[in-house]
Amino acid sequence: MNICVCVKRVPAPGARINITDDGQAVDTAFLGFTVSPHEECAVEQAVQLVEKHGGEVTVLTLGPAEAEEQLRTALSVGATKAVLVPIAEGDWDPQRTADAIASVIGEIESASQPFDLVLFGNESADSCGYQVGIRAALKLGRPIVNGAKGLDVEGTTAIVRRESDAGQDIYKLPMPAAVGVKEGINLPRYPTMKGRLASKKVEVQRKESSANAGGLKMVTLQRPPERVSNTQILGTGPEAAAAVVDLLEELGVFK
């Protein structure tokens, strides 16, 4: 099994998201960075599949040079190759991102061997575009299903389990295939000390890619209207129980 997982470096905001004065970006001055939980789970799923079936996991990101940090995190939990597609400041639109990712994956495949699976997150944490994986998979001529809450491999078939309003739906994709993974598919492991050390030894490959801008243009970011609350403190400690139950009665929740 050869698996490629695409992850995106995003800021990790805490209580609120602040925007830069020009409205063009999230103010990351005091923020750490991470990847979407969906993508963390995609990495974990790839590592588990390789542990079961053999092979190796490559992680790929399109982003600033600093995105090497997110690649190293994936390497520390079991990926063994990492590819950075460097871009200058800012964010690429979904069409452009997908074009670049697909062409780099194509390049890697023609130099070595095809990936049996290319995994994406269901949606990125920041832009939530729900499309980069689908566009890239089409360019690579692979079937793709999003929303995977289960992913197994039997022979040359990828079996995807997914939730719908009606229940759990099963899809069977002939490999090579692509899958968009959702958090909950597994419980990602934490990096071990050994893993961290091993990740430092891997050389991150850099692959330049040029792709044309697509038709979705960000004009400005804005914060949604904030809920202003005059919090009513019902009390301190267990003595507040009576006031809480009064409230539950008032709201008609407790009859």
Partner: protein, 326 residues
Amino acid sequence: MSVLAVIEHDRGTITSASLGVLTAGRSLAKQMGTQLEAVTIGANADALSAVAAAHGATVTHQAHHAALVDFGPEAWGESLAQVIRATNPQVVIGTGTERGHEIIAQAAARLDLPAAMNCTEFDESFTGAGALRVVRTRWGGSLMEQAEVDAPIKLVTLANHVVEPSESPVAGSTTTHDVTLDASVLHSFVVDRVERVAGVTLATSPVVVSGGRGVGSAEAFAPLEELAGLLGGVVGCSRAVTNNGWRNHTDQVGQTGTRIAPDIYIACGISGAIQHWVGAMASKNILAINTDKEANIVTKAGYAVIGDLHKVVPAISAEIRRRRGQ
């Protein structure tokens, strides 16, 4: 020239999100001076043209193919792409759901057109010429983006629960489109289904008692289970909890978990990070139980108790029992 509403359905049953899409499409068509049309995918959805007409769609395009019996993202996306090519709409609106995003993204990829997902507003002065200005959600709704969809055909999805569905009946007609689907799109279909057991779910429960890192362990959720049980509700949790393996991800509230809108959300030992808050903010009432009176959830909630959840939660349950004479 039209606004095309994409009807999402499951084996012929329309989803509620589709009604919002028809309603939003109708107002957009009106401001553009054009008509609302709809598209259904699969012959098992033909009857939905009546619902489309009731919501103002003058024509329903019915995509037919023997393989279109169940949902398949690629077959649906390709079918939609072919209907778009045949009818040349100015705007195409899909549902802001997992399947809705997928259908629109598939069609957009096949037509090499941009797509803007989870739109909450469309420029009210848009008449059909030039780019379409939209507001869409990022970060699962914690941040908004003004964006321009610059393409001859604008593909968008409507964020869920943004538009209240309303009817506006017209005498609608139907057109059949026999689509061509080659082998490459016939792979990804639902091939089997395990039906869900009916019952209260996290998404629909009127009461949710949720625990965060402050709960401390899987076992320590027992008092939360008890309180939820007394109130006829269910237990939820934060990502810190699922990450620690204390509870299943199906209980997680937030950006990458479940969006909830209960009558009351009781958040115990949860700090209220923005990715958690976005999943809980639609709750009608929020009660935070936290040792830290400065915690984000405390400052945002309508009600709070400052204290140790391990003492406060059992005391609430005891008080409920006392009043019930148990």
